[in-house]
């Protein structure tokens, strides 16, 4: 076991993929000598050379568009979009090109592209550096969307994403980049990339969270336990497809569900999960599914972002509201 931050764990995963498959290449803004603005690609250009780890012009559509071409030539590009709010210039190349090429060509062309996106708030950043755009992509057929929440899991997940023959958007919770954990660098993942994971077992209520909100949910569960409420926390991990089986099994046990994410509640992942669980677990539910997330506002200036972001208290409030329905 090696103790690594989340950023270092992803770095180690990228190194492993670069080592085991010489078709893998890393590309993006400042991923070379600088090692990325969050140092996730630190030292990789020095180790693997400029042919395989390289800086691109500052143009997100260009990054994804050229990566598609590289993939068509047989490479497996891993693109970094520097910040969540910078992904929109690449929207057409992602949702109209990347997502559709396999289907458009009746399966003749596969596009094994991984797009890494540091996302979410809580780091005191300026505008466009704190957003959660995952729902736009989860809504698009042909894409797979995943989000890691911890170092030990991220190490395997990034390798699985790169190995996938489908395009994968890999959302990295940037405010957790510095959180450390023991990582087994020689281990192989025990879960599939699209499986949800029960992080904390419980019997009274289920929380589904992903990315940066998993540790918030776990902390809230711990608080609730001190008040005698047993909360089960599920790390969704994959946002498209969603592992509903794991959620259903938990709700069958607890009868109550709270979904937590940073993205706006309106038409967010929580809306889809609430709808599906209402359809599938209607007679098992003790109370309506409750969603906790961002508001229908632009992401606010960082001095007030703590009022926008779900925190332990807002999750506990949701738990109380759910339990109040009897």
């Amino acid at each position: 076991m090696t103790t690594l931050s989340l950023a270092k764990a992803i770095n180690a995963g990228l190194r492993k993929s670069l080592t085991t498959d010489d078709r893998v290449m890393l590309m993006g803004e400042d991923v070379g000598a600088l090692g990325g603005v969050f140092r996730v690609t630190d030292q990789l250009q020095a180790e693997f050379g400029r042919e395989r780890v390289f800086d691109t012009p500052l143009a997100e559509s260009g990054i994804i568009g050229t990566a598609i071409g590289l993939a068509m030539r047989g490479y497996r590009p891993v693109c970094e979009i520097q910040f969540d709010g910078f992904i929109y210039p690449a929207f057409d190349q992602i949702v109209s090109q990347l997502a559709k090429i396999h289907s458009r060509t009746d399966g003749a062309v596969t596009v094994p592209l991984t797009i890494r996106v540091p996302y979410g708030g809580g780091i005191g950043a300026v505008e466009h550096h704190s957003e959660s755009p995952e729902a736009y992509f989860a809504h698009t057929a042909g894409l797979r969307v995943v989000s890691c929440s911890s170092a030990d899991d991220a190490y395997g997940m990034i390798q699985q994403a790169i190995a996938s023959d489908d395009p994968v958007l890999f959302f990295e919770p940037k405010r957790r980049y510095w959180d450390k954990q023991d990582v087994d660098l020689d281990g192989t993942p025990t879960l599939g990339l699209y499986d949800a994971r029960v992080v904390t077992e419980g019997t009274d209520l289920t929380i589904v969270a992903y990315g940066p909100m998993v540790s918030t949910a776990v902390a809230a569960a711990s608080e609730a336990a001190s008040e005698g409420t047993s909360v089960e926390v599920i790390d969704l991990r994959s946002l498209s497809p969603i592992d509903f089986g794991t959620i259903e099994a938990s709700v069958a046990k607890t009868g109550r569900l709270v979904v937590v994410h940073e993205a706006p509640v309106f038409l967010g992942l929580g809306a889809e999960i609430a709808a599906r669980i209402s359809e599938r677990c209607f007679w098992m539910l003790e109370s309506p599914v409750i969603r906790v997330g961002g508001y229908s506002t632009p992401y606010p200036p960082s001095k007030v972002e703590q009022y926008y972001l779900p925190d332990i208290d807002r999750v506990l409030d949701a738990i109380d509201r759910s339990l109040a329905v009897r």
Binding site: P57, G65, R104, T105, D106, S240
Partner: protein, 371 residues
């Protein structure tokens, strides 16, 4: 606003090799050498190409009018730009096309019937891109250019002498992806030929709406060599495309070609060009028809024999008949096929939806049964 009134058309520096009159080719200090091997046989072959692809185009337009195609984007007038450039390529080169490159697809070896099936609404593609090394139609204007550059970056890493070529129109030059593609191609010295068919219109908007300078001048700002060619001169287009391809193969990076041509038909069969251009302009360009242009040279060389013309006509008629038959015999996709190939690997949500879809459609139609 008066930008639409600026006319950006032919220029003195436009490369031309086929004479407007007489049989002798026009000499060019650079480009004549690139078609020195083109003799009578090759000229006749290109003439046949032009006639055949125009006939495919006409047949497709007719099939649309008869309700067999949902839409068609005619290439009438642009045949020389497409045939000349496509004839400059090797089989292993890769074409990233827009949606009007029917002649290019035909010369890459695509069964023309498969081109039509896209426009019929029977498929989103029509062929396997790897079988002919050409992408299927890109509808979002300019999107294919970046992909060509990325493919070219891959070629360079493979130390191969393949090249990528991307086709686009004058309208695409206004897209952000156009500028990004040129920027990336220059930065990575990618072996890419940018082939712009300036057909003077983006649907109804004349080229002056897109640019106030000749399109070819855009390349210089990116450090890319630009060549403007008479797009209705099949021989000149062949020469400049061979030149650009050779530069790419030699590691000299991207070249930008502006083929100045004219879309003599509508943007698509849904368009009505009489609303935005006058008959005189069209008449002027009809005098520069790419097929007539080559035919005059063939006549002066004594190649336009009745036998040759009849053989060409017969071939065009054969291809057209086969296209028509193929179109009418299209087997439409099975309903369940909409779930196929969305992903390369199994996807749980999709499998659930497919199972529901199949179960739903397995239920007998109760309305038909008089419920």
């Amino acid at each position: 606003m008066s930008i639409a009134s600026i006319e950006i058309t032919g220029h003195a520096e436009e490369v031309a090799l086929l004479p407007a009159a007489g049989g002798e080719l026009l000499p060019h200090p650079v480009f004549s050498a690139f078609v020195a091997d083109i003799g009578d046989t090759e000229l006749v072959q290109m003439y046949t190409d032009l006639v055949v692809v125009r006939r495919i185009d006409a047949e497709a337009t007719a099939l649309q009018r008869q309700g067999e195609l949902a839409l068609w984007a005619p290439m009438l007038g642009q045949e020389a730009a497409q045939v000349g450039s496509a004839r400059a390529l090797r089989a292993k080169d890769f074409v990233f096309a827009s949606y009007r490159e029917h002649a290019v697809a035909y010369l890459r070896g695509v069964d023309p019937t498969m081109i039509l099936r896209f426009w019929r609404g029977s498929t989103h593609s029509g062929w396997n891109p790897y079988e002919v090394n050409m992408t299927t139609p890109a509808i979002v204007v300019g999107s294919q250019m970046l992909q060509a550059v990325g493919y070219g970056m891959g070629i360079r890493r493979d130390h191969s002498d393949d090249i990528a070529i991307t086709y686009f129109g004058d309208g695409a030059t206004s897209q952000g992806d156009f500028s990004e593609a040129l920027g990336f191609a220059a930065s990575f010295n990618a072996p890419v030929v940018f082939f712009c068919q300036n057909n003077q219109f983006a649907i109804s908007a004349p080229v002056g709406v897109q640019t106030t300078v000749p399109i070819v001048q855009r390349a210089a700002g990116f450090g890319i060599e630009g060549v403007q060619v008479d797009g209705n001169d099949v021989l000149a287009v062949l020469a400049v495309t061979r030149y650009a391809a050779e530069r790419a193969r030699n590691g000299d990076g991207p070249t930008f070609i502006e083929a100045v041509t004219y879309r003599m038909g509508p943007h698509t069969t849904s368009d009505d060009p009489t609303r935005y251009r006058d008959a005189e302009e069209l008449a002027r360009w009809k005098e520069r028809d790419p097929i007539d242009r080559l035919l005059r040279t063939l006549e002066h060389r004594g190649l336009a024999t009745p036998e040759m013309l009849a053989a060409t006509e017969a071939k065009a008629a054969d291809v057209a008949a086969s296209v028509r038959t193929g179109c009418l015999e299209t087997v439409e996709p099975a309903p369940e096929s909409i779930f196929e190939n969305v992903y390369a690997e199994p996807h749980s949500l999709l499998e659930e939806e497919r199972a529901e879809f199949v179960a739903y459609h397995a239920i007998p139609d109760t309305k038909a049964a008089g419920r």
